[in-house]
């Protein structure tokens, strides 16, 4: 069967110990039954491993850091589009999504480049800093949390929250502090990297379980696969995980997606307490780095996103294979210096 050829630009090529979702998304698209996909990698740094994975990524371009703003991004995408005639862009970083959402209508109207992203309102509503309100709006339990703008506020928390507690960055990073002194230390560490505010969250003891899911923007959950981390790195990332048969988690994911009319991929992170209660820790507004497990279980979420972005009707997946596992590995790619030179100097590879 002749599959239509499309060109998809993907960010998140940092397939490192705290991996971006780009490479798993690309692997999923490569396995698409519906499209013949040319992959354009969009990178921020010259050492993102995906740049050098030529069997997965056909061509790569560096793009400006999110802090450079939407004009620089649009200008760069305009150039890339002239070279590659992009069909679709799938951004995979929390920190870049704001810019991509802002320019999505320009991409669609002026360049005919599709995206499939949440609205700014949806994006803002699930921020860590307002997660409590998000939990209430969606009838999901959320640990107590508070935004802090100064380390001095830690000493004024009083009885609002007890130790241990979790110190979190606004985009990434989370550390468990057993004392106020530790919390202050982590406040400085995380704010130096990701800025303010810092979020202080109640620590809930239990198993960490996550769901990768995708919403159609009209309230339907197109797919959802729950996973438990079996091996966690010192950065808290899953190095191995297993697909669970957990109808309650899937039901919560469907409820959140239905209530919020979520559009695009997402990851719901929960703690399942020993009493069997689910506490939503975060809702990430993009596919997780372990999204390829969903493909392995029979739900190709990136392909479904591509179809919806291109205007096709997609029916929700009805099942997935329980007990499938993923186990990551590290791999030393040998890279000729001229490739590193090329991406570093010309911004293309």
């Amino acid at each position: 069967m002749n599959k239509p050829k499309i060109t998809v630009a993907v960010t998140g090529l940092n397939n490192i110990d705290s991996p971006g979702p780009g490479i798993p998304v690309i692997r999923a698209l490569r396995e698409s039954q519906s499209y013949d996909v040319r992959i354009i990698g969009l990178s921020y740094e010259s050492l993102e491993p995906g740049l050098y994975m030529h069997d997965l990524v056909d061509k790569s371009y560096q793009i400006p850091m999110p802090s450079a703003g939407t004009n620089s991004l649009l200008e760069r995408l305009n150039y890339i589009h002239q070279q590659e005639n992009l069909t679709l862009i799938i951004p995979n970083f929390d920190a870049e999504l704001y810019n991509f959402i802002k320019i999505s209508s320009v991409l669609k109207n002026d360049y005919k480049i599709a995206t499939f992203l949440p609205t700014l309102e949806q994006f803002e509503a699930r921020h860590k800093s307002v997660l409590h309100e998000f939990g209430e709006a969606n009838d999901v339990k959320v640990p107590f949390s508070k935004m802090l703008f100064s380390p001095n506020e830690i000493y004024t928390l009083g009885e609002e929250i007890s130790y241990p507690l979790v110190v979190k960055g606004k985009f990434y990073d989370a550390m468990i502090a057993a004392t106020p002194e530790q919390a202050v230390n982590y406040f400085h560490k995380i704010s130096a990297k990701w800025g303010l505010p810092i979020i202080i969250q109640e620590f809930i003891s239990g198993n960490e379980v996550n769901v990768t899911a995708i919403g159609d923007g009209k309230g339907a959950c197109i797919g959802a696969v729950p996973m438990r981390k079996l091996y966690i790195t010192d950065k808290g990332k899953a190095w191995a995980g297993i697909a669970l048969d957990d109808p309650e988690m899937v039901a919560i994911a469907k409820k959140v997606i239905a209530n919020s009319k979520w559009k695009g991929g997402c990851e719901l992170e929960f703690i399942k307490s020993r009493e069997g209660e689910y506490y939503l820790l975060e809702m990430n507004p993009r596919f997780p780095a372990w999204v390829y497990l969903a493909v392995g279980c029979g739900q190709n979420h990136p392909e479904a996103l591509t179809k919806m972005a291109l205007g096709e009707e997609v029916s929700p997946f009805e099942s997935y294979e329980v007990g499938k596992m993923f186990v990551r590995y590290s791999y030393d790619q040998i890279v000729p210096l001229n490739e590193f030179e090329k991406i570093s100097t010309t911004g293309e590879l």
Binding site: R228, L230, I242, L244, D245, D246, V322, G323
Partner: protein, 82 residues
Amino acid sequence: MNINKNIAISETGFVFNPLTGDSFSTNKIGQEILRKLQSKTDEISLVEHLTEIFAVDKATAEKDLSDFLLILKSYQILIDYE
């Protein structure tokens, strides 16, 4: 006393709980107990069965079975066990 109905037990004694993602391995005796629990055998009948097929007296079988059932409960393999 009910065993979680979704528990998968292989012929090699590999036990998988699809709700929690936990997996375990058990010996022949454990496999026999799990299979009997799947066929709704109660605790008294289980003790009788164990003393019939294994070289063990009733008191030892009762104690060891009780310990094993508590372990199964703690791993959420067994439900409604007091």
